[in-house]
Each structure stands twice: as C-alpha cells, then as structure tokens.
C-alpha cells in the first residue's frame, strides 16, 4: 500500500495537478488500476472522512476531494477490471410533501455523493406516493427524507407509513433529517437513522450500509 502514498497524499491535499500526474505516472509504471483505486484513492477518502470528523478538514475540501476522486476514477476506468465495484450504495433522496426547502437536502446530496454513494434526488415537495413508486423503480439501499418545518415533519411519518402499506418498508433503510427533527422523533416514527447535519449524513449512510451488509 505504501507505493501509493504520493497518490494518497495528493488526494488528501486536494492537489489536482499532483494527483493527475501521480495517477498517470503510476499507471504507466504498470501498477494495476484496481490497486490504485483500492489501496490509494479509497483509503485517502477514508482519511479525509476521519479528518472531517475531527475538525481538521472542512466540507468544501471534502467536496473538492470527491471531485478529484471522481476525475481520477475516470482516468482509471479503461484500465479497471470488469465489474469493479465503486459505489458505496444507492440512496434515494428528497424533501417531503408540503416542504420546498432544499439547501440541507442538497448538502446531504453532495456529502453522500462525495462518500461514493450513487444518489438519486427526487427534489422537493414530494408526495408519499411518489417516494413509494421511486423506491420500487430505483431500488435504493437507503431512502433519505428531509423536512424543515414543524408543519411538515408529520409527512415524514406519512411517507414511512405509505411504504409500509405498499409492503416495501423493509426493502430500504430510512434516514431522516431537518432542523426540527431529532433522534427521539426519528425513533418515534420508525426511521432507521437520524442525521443532525449534512456533515454527519455520509457517516450515517455508511453505518446503515454496514447494517445492511451484516444481515
């Protein structure tokens, strides 16, 4: 793993130029693209995640690193083995019916994408029925619901209940967030997880994915 240390350092430092140079150089020297990905880039994103938790790195840097990571994966793609798995999981994301707030939801989108999730954003003011049909067609691992108003957080429960009625509640993990939402409210309505801010969304999603894989 030590052979990819300069790739890791370049990504952690968000140094675009150096990362491109190092990736190209390492490929031309005959390293396997899968090894670069698995032993260079992904461990670097893990370090970045830890540094964000500890407060050393900030959201704009995590997002920049994610963009650079995506660019590096594009460079590697022709060399990657068939079926190389690069997605951390599938997430369906939206703001519930009656609520048009999207800043927090959009931040969660970026954070999840930066953590390697495949994310589909169904937007704002989304009726429970739409979430049901989207879950059926997109088949996410996680459904992430947002509500910002005390008047719209009941729609979180309505949406979860609608999934139950449709018989697909157990096909997804559900995470909820938004200013008036709390852990106890999330427990009350039968959600699987609660994120207090966008910064904790990707950690929560990873935790839920670990639960899925454990079962």
């Amino acid at each position: 793993m030590t052979e990819f240390v300069s790739i890791r350092d370049a990504l952690i430092a968000c140094d675009a130029e150096k990362l491109t140079d190092e990736v190209n150089k390492t490929i031309s020297q005959g390293s396997s693209a899968n090894a670069i990905l698995n032993d260079g880039l992904i461990p670097a994103m893990d370090v970045i995640g830890e540094r964000m938790e500890s407060g050393e790195m900030f959201i704009p840097e995590v997002l920049m690193a994610a963009q650079l990571m995506a660019g590096a994966v594009e460079t590697l793609r022709p060399h990657l083995a068939e079926g190389s798995h690069v997605s951390a999981g599938k997430v369906l994301l939206g703001t519930v019916k009656g609520d048009v707030h999207d800043i927090g939801k959009n931040l969660v989108f970026m954070m999840l994408e930066s953590a390697g999730f495949e994310v589909k954003d169904v937007g704002v003011d989304v009726p429970a029925d739409t979430f049901v049909s989207e879950v059926k067609s997109f088949q996410p691992d996680i459904l992430a619901l947002s509500a910002l108003l005390t008047t719209t957080i009941p729609m979180l429960k309505t949406t979860i209940d609608a999934l139950g009625t449709a018989g697909i509640r157990d096909s997804v993990k559900i995470m909820v967030g938004g200013a008036p939402v709390s852990q106890s409210f999330a427990d009350q309505i039968g959600a699987d997880g609660y994120g207090a801010d966008a910064g904790s969304a990707s950690r929560l999603a990873k935790k839920l994915m670990a639960e899925i894989r454990a079962n």
Partner: protein, 478 residues
Amino acid sequence: MKPHVQFLSREEIGRIHQASLGILKDVGMRFPAEEALDFFRSAGAEIVNGDVVRVPEDLVERAIAAVPKRNDVVLYGRDEKHDVDFKGHKPSLSCMTMATSVIDPHSGKKRPASNDDLVRLTRIADKLEYVGVNGGLVTPQEVPGATNDWYTWATTIKNTTKHITGGVYGYRGVRDAIEMGSLAVGSKEAFLKRPFISGWVLTVPPLGCDTASTEAMIEMNRHGIPIMLSSGPILGTTSPVTIAGCLAQAHAEILGCLVLSQLVNPGAPVVYTSFARGMNMRTSNISMGGPEFAVLKVAMSQLGLSLDLPIRMPSMLRDSKVLDAQAGFETGMVGTLTSFMADIMDSMQLDTDMVVDYPDLLFCNDCMAFIRHGLRELVVDDHTLALEPIAQVGPGGNFLSHQHTFKNFRTELWHSDLFDHDNWERWESKGKKDIRTAAMDKVHALIEAPVEPLLSPDVEAAIDSIVERADADGAGEE
C-alpha cells in the same frame, strides 16, 4: 475599507492636546528624582516647589519629533518569529501583569498565585497564537515581596521566547532585568541589539511620578528598552470626573514623561497606553470593565495615534469575578471597541486585574481571533466580487463545491477552536460543555504536556543567582 471607531474629532484631539500642553506649562508635573530634575533643568524647564517641573511647549514638540514612530518600533521576541511591529494594524493580546490570585485549575478554588502558576501561565501564553506580548500574569505570593519583580522576570524569561513586559523597580530593577535578558541571549551586546523585554512606567496622577518609576524609566530609556508609558487617573478621584478633563490630564502626564525619555535618549522607544478608569462611587472599587472605560481607551488610543505611536490598552480586563456572561460582554464590548484603534490589548485577568482563571487565557485568545477576523479590511475587488463564480453557479446552484469556495473559505470564514457553533445534538454528544469547561479541557491538556526547557540549566542557574543576589542585597526596598 478598514473600520475605525472614534469618539474624538480631529478638532477635539487638537483641543485636548493644546489643553495638555497648557497643563504641563502652567501647572507642571512632579518628578521627585534628582537625575530627572537635572535633565529638565539643563533643557531649560522651570522647576518650582522643589520637584514640580513646568514643561515648556517647545520641549514637548521636540520630544514628539524625536520619539520613534509606529513604523520604527519593534517589540522584539527572544525568538524573532515572535517580533511584534506596528506597521499595519493587527491587534493582539498581551499578558496583563501582577494579579495576586488564581483559580486553581484542579480544585476550582481561588488561592494565592505561586511561582509554579507563573511558570504554567507563561508557558500557555507562549503557545497561544493571538498573544503577542507575554509577561507576569501573576506575581508569585510565596516569594519576598520586595523582590517579587525579580522572581517574575526570572520565571518569565525562562518560560517564553515572546516579548515580555514586566514591572521594574528603580535603576537596580532595570539593570538586573537587562542582566537576566543578556544571559538568555548570550551577551549584553546581543540583548541591547534586540531587547526582548519592556517595562511599565505608570505615572502617579494627578500630575506626578514616583521616584522609583522615574529612575526605572530613565534607565530603560538609556538602554533603549521600550517603555509602556501609562497615565491611569481615576475619574472624579485622581482626575476630573468628566472624560475630556481626564483625557487632557492623562495625555499631559504621558507627554511629561515622553519629554524626559527623549531628553535622556532621543529615539528611546515609547508605547502609548493608559489605565485611565472609573470608580464605583458607592464603594470606591475600581472599574475596568464599564462603558466609560471603553470610551477612555478608544479616546486615549486616538490621542496616542495622533502622535503616531504604538498603542497598548488594558481593554480586555473584566470587573466580573468569573468567566460568565458579564465577563463575556465586558470582553466583547471594551475589547472590541478598543481593538479598532489599539495594537496590543492587556487581557487574561478577572476581578479587574487581581485574579487569573486558567481557561480565561484560551477564552481571551479565541476572542482576539474573533475580533481580528471581524476587524479585517473588507476588500472589494474582482476576486472578492466573484462575478465569474456567480455566473458559473447560476440560479438555483450551489457554491459549496465551487473552486472559489474551496480556495477562499479558510481565510474568509472564522473557524473557532473554542466557541461552540455546532447544533444541539453535536454539542450534546461532545459533553454539553459551556465555554469555560471546553477551555478548561484544553488547559488540562496543556499543563499535563511535558515541558521542554527553553534555556540551558547553566543559564537558568545564572538567572536565578541574580534573584538571589537581589534578595541578599535587600533590593526593591525603599
């Protein structure tokens, strides 16, 4: 533009300055020290009633011309990375000196300060980013009273490489402090080239100086040691109760000393400061946290700036006894207002200037980080207008992942180490700490970390022997 706060117009500054010149010329100022009187007499000043000097205007004008201006003054650190200059305006903290008590960081109880406290506090101040000038935050109470300045010099010199301001008693106090400083840098010659210490000169209002302070000042001037020159009258007690009268008298006292400093050694560095303050008229307790204190500090800063001098003000002292909401408001109001105009802010003491609470050092440091960030020049140019990013992101987009945000957020936004900016859940998960508790955790980490000596054991022993010699000689006694 860079923001400013002003209580005095240009005309009012001129009027106060003229009033101060008149006070010096017509009323005069006491300098009960033979050498001082000799300097004034030789310069042509009239001396009445034995030791009251009537200072003519032309002497003041010559002194103002001779004293080094902001661009030319440096408060040297023992390590040059800690040099403090006054070319721009970047306010920083200094250790207010001579508190007598600490809040014990383990028991939480107030007790007399010890030399061990001084070691720890000097070390913490040495590490804090926004402390520009170190000094004896506390005076050890277990050492002989007459020589406690000597102990304070020895301990601070051994425990910081930043510039140090301290109290100096008479000629001997200055000479011994110079000797200790010279030991720390290897020679007197090296020390005098970059003197890393400065000393207080506090007038005795109204319109006087005491003998030991006058002699200490003369000795510092002679060696080019910067003086922190303060007049600190008390409204309605040692000056008129009206702010303008207090300003005129305090400015006059500073000018009187300034004249002497430049007669002793033209070009001797002077930092303009003032402890002018109010008093609780119910109890006679001194106040350094009230609104009139803020006004006095800003106005005195304006008077000092009108002479193009570096400005130091004791504006982050708090009347509050504990690090509570009152202390926070006093820090925010007096500290912020003065920081618009002054360069160095004496801080990190509570109960006006009597008590040091360890976590307050980290609190004040973060307050200064906040203030420094808030008082920056607001730059309006192509880069900061960011028209290109605005067009690129477009309606409904998001700047968070834009290169412009990535490149600039660390400098544009303030990221506190101490102030809580989390949501409730995150704050709760981190232990629901108020700011004193959060700061106290950092204090424990700092005081439990291993301490590397900054000087060799031989040099430390030689510095200590100067203190022992002072004790043996009965230095510091009248």
